[in-house]
């Protein structure tokens, strides 16, 4: 029987984009809010991110990207989660997204996208209200 645990979040930076100030701030805010947080550091491949997410048994992956390469990495990560029977891990994104890409990304399964100006409290509230833990996980209150 699974012990109750806190919501676990992986903050990840796919691709060559090295701008991780936002990712680190959000990771800290998540930790202060009581989630368990792992941050991958920069220059991760989709394969590395999904592998880490599964190994660390996270409930949500927060992808940080500002370079425009979300068009490749986000769908690829969703694909890999599906291939590895880990579709119950939610994926959200933060960074710079052209308006027309936002609806496309949500259609393929990215649960939410946080753009410049998103406030930390709003992100945390959104995650608390909208992200369920993985199958079979009981959240510690």
């Amino acid at each position: 029987m699974e012990k109750a645990r806190k919501l676990r979040i992986l903050v990840a930076k796919p691709g060559l984009d090295g701008h991780d100030r936002g990712a680190r701030i959000v990771a800290r805010a998540f930790r202060d809010a009581g989630f368990e947080v792992i941050y991958t550091g920069c220059h991760q491949t989709p394969e590395q991110i999904v592998s880490t997410a599964i190994q660390e048994d996270v409930d949500m992956i927060g992808l940080s990207i500002l370079s425009g390469a979300h068009t490749y990495s986000f769908p690829r990560i969703l694909e890999l989660l599906e291939e590895n029977n880990a579709k119950d891990i939610s994926v959200v994104g933060g960074g710079i997204f052209p308006l027309e890409d936002i609806s496309k990304l949500k259609e393929i399964g990215i649960k939410e996208l946080f753009e410049p100006g998103a406030r930390l409290k709003d992100i945390i509230d959104w995650v608390s209200s909208n992200i369920s833990p993985r199958r079979g996980v009981v959240l510690k209150k």
Partner: protein, 353 residues
């Protein structure tokens, strides 16, 4: 990409090679820009950058170079952020701190070794996606601060910095910003025009003092590599970045269009689209390039780079001559980096937050 020690070794190879073979080449740009963009304070940017400079000078001396042989070709790269007077004071303080360090800590005799030559870029992180035309004003005041701070060269950001690599129109405004300041305003006709201002001198002194506190602390830790391995500068930067975010969200730090005087103006349209076909074209071009090169010459050159990487750092093992030959023989950047990663190991960022 590489851990701190091999990174330092490659920097020193560059400095040594320039000093011996390409004496008018500016060997390295010691950067604070990225430290500031990561969220550091102005004082941290000043102190950590100068301390990186100290580390490079120490390595050059360890390599057997005399400080006056190479120090004159070092240069720096500052950020110019939105607090006008703080940035001017920072640049002024940097000149005095570096001159003192070169003279007193390293015994430089040549005045050229004591010069703080620097490039400046206006702060990307001060710009907003909301009401992007406000960014033109921010870049202008930041550029002016850099000029009054004594920068030797200048980069002005485009108003669409937050969104994408710049559109032609935005680049033109950024360029014209410099040209108006340089050719119309007269601010480039006087060296250090704010010298003697009670306020600017007091601020300069204060920043120098505060930077020296950090410099002493880094000395106590055993140098920059030791400090990095302990995550010290990374934690300082992360703390400063988080603190700043709190200040913005609490309204303590004002950003026009974001937390004060906001409007419902639509944001910029993304005008820059990069055709995916370009990636395919470049991959093909690179493959054709590799097909055509002299494979024997290429392999021999890469083996020599490898041999030097694996040897102890010294002039005989300086990678630069071998690297130049490798590139002439057709080595790509990917191949050189792969070789470095293989020889030196890959740096794993501990991901401090």
């Amino acid at each position: 990409m590489l851990p701190p020690e091999p990174s330092l070794r490659l920097v020193t190879d560059t400095v040594e090679f320039g000093t011996r073979e390409v004496p008018r080449w500016n060997t390295i740009s010691i950067s604070g820009y990225h430290i500031r963009e990561a969220g550091s304070t102005a004082v941290q940017e000043l102190a950590f950058t100068i301390y990186d400079g100290i580390a490079y000078v120490e390595e050059g001396i360890k390599r057997g170079l005399k400080v006056d042989e190479f120090a004159g070709r070092l240069s720096f790269f500052w950020n110019s952020h939105i607090d006008f007077f703080e940035e001017i004071a920072k640049m002024r303080a940097s000149r005095r701190i570096w001159a003192r360090i070169m003279k007193e800590r390293f015994g430089a005799q040549d005045p050229r070794s004591m010069l703080m030559r620097f490039h400046t870029q206006t702060a990307g992180c001060s710009l907003t996606s909301a009401e992007p035309y406000n960014n033109v004003i921010r870049t202008t005041t930041e550029a002016l601060a850099a000029i009054l701070g004594g920068t030797n060269s200048l980069h002005t950001n485009s108003l669409d910095e937050v969104y994408m690599i710049p559109s032609e129109e935005a680049v033109l405004i950024a360029l014209r910003t410099q040209q108006v300041l340089a050719d119309e305003c007269g601010v480039t006709h006087v060296i250090d025009p704010l010298a003697g201002s009670y306020f600017v001198e007091a601020l300069t002194d204060k920043m120098e003092e505060e930077a020296n506190v950090y410099i002493r602390k880094l000395d106590e830790m055993g140098g920059m590599v030791a400090a990095i391995e302990r995550d010290y500068p990374q934690m300082e930067i992360a703390d400063a970045a988080f603190h700043f975010q709190r200040q913005v969200e609490d309204g303590e730090k004002i950003i026009i269009g974001v937390n004060k005087y906001t409007s419902d103006r639509p944001e910029l349209e993304f005008v820059l689209k990069i055709d995916e076909e370009i990636e395919r074209m470049q991959v093909n071009r690179t493959n054709r390039y590799k097909e055509k090169r002299d494979k024997v010459r290429f392999q021999k050159a890469m083996d020599e780079v490898r041999r030097r990487c694996e040897g102890p750092p010294c002039w005989e093992n300086n990678v630069m001559p071998a690297l130049i030959e490798a590139v002439r023989a057709g080595a790509t950047e990917q191949e050189c980096c792969d070789l470095y990663r293989d020889a030196f190991g890959v740096y794993t960022d501990p991901g401090t937050f």
